[in-house]
């Protein structure tokens, strides 16, 4: 049996799951609810998000979240019956995650 490259994707999936669970709810509540409700001034958030380190962290969150989602979608579709196209499916999912990451980099950096 050939060695698997799955540890790499699974590590991305695991890291993405952790970061998604910890940071995404905070970001959603902050940008989606707290700022519109006036709890935090937009200018304060603007200052924070203009910090290069914060931008890099946001990009990291986007990158890992995309790869987490790609891995989950890939395996769910495989479990749902797309076993015969497992390889193209994997390529498609991870390429979409990569495209998402590049898009996030263009927006954030």
């Amino acid at each position: 049996m050939r060695p698997s490259n799955e540890p790499f994707w699974w590590a991305m999936f695991g890291a993405g799951g952790m970061i998604t669970a910890l940071l995404l709810p905070v970001l959603i509540i902050l940008t989606g609810f707290v700022v519109p409700a006036g709890g935090v001034e937009f200018s304060q958030l603007d200052t924070l998000f203009n910090n290069p380190l914060v931008r890099l962290i946001i990009l990291g969150v986007a990158f890992l979240s995309f790869f987490h989602a790609a891995h989950r979608i890939r395996h769910t579709l495989k479990d749902l019956g797309l076993r015969s196209v497992a390889t193209p499916l994997a390529v498609l999912c991870y390429a979409a995650a990569l495209a998402g990451t590049i898009w996030a980099a263009m927006v954030v950096l």
Binding site: M1, R2, P3, S4, E6, P7, F8, W10, A11, G14, H75, T76, K78, D79, G81, R83
Partner: protein, 253 residues
Amino acid sequence: MTTETMTVTLEVFRYHPDTDSEPSYQSYEVPYREEWVVLDALNWLKDEVDGTLSYRWSCRMGVCGSCGMMVNGYPRLTCNAFLREFMPGPIRVEPLRGFPVERDMVTVLDDFMEKLTDVKPYIIREEEQSLDDGEYLQSPSQLADFKQFSMCINCTLCYAACPVYEHEDEFLGPAVLALAQRYNLDSRDQGNEQRQQLIWADEGIWDCTFVGECSAVCPKDVDPAAAIQQAKVEATNNFFISLLPFTPPGMGR
């Protein structure tokens, strides 16, 4: 109606490949007894009504792992599934899902047995220590590392519950991976590397998508899903360590 006169309907999967072109279900009325399990009802049927009914059983006490069947669509040891759980019935009894059927509820276990043998589920020593040196000693915490995985009775209920095994012929499956992990975690064993090639392949741990039904149906409270997750962590650590140009202290490959 007293329990002495009560009956329950058993819908039993029937298939004799030499005479039947396809499987069918046969309904039987069997006496209901509060203390009867599904296996008692099947034994009554075989003794009193239809001697051609075929199924495996042996110990009647949840130890031998022979009498696993689908009871109302769920993998159960029939010696451990009371009729009273399923009243008023009917109770559908079928062979374990995911395996070829030899006859009635008797499944073909060759694939499972081959895979079990492949992972070498026994203690492997590079060199046996001399008998004069006494036993291989083990601390309680070293025992605790693997003990729950050693409770497996090879009943294959976890295979019937696993949606991946049903569709992926090459997948080693829950019990085999849990038993491989049981020996890998044993402080007396040195066979880790021999098992790695097999269990770290796509067809080993990586086909598992952590559905977790294997652990839910296990009659011995073994947690194969956890064994597979532990092995995934080890395989991933090893994967990244092997990319380094050096081996970090204390982290063997």
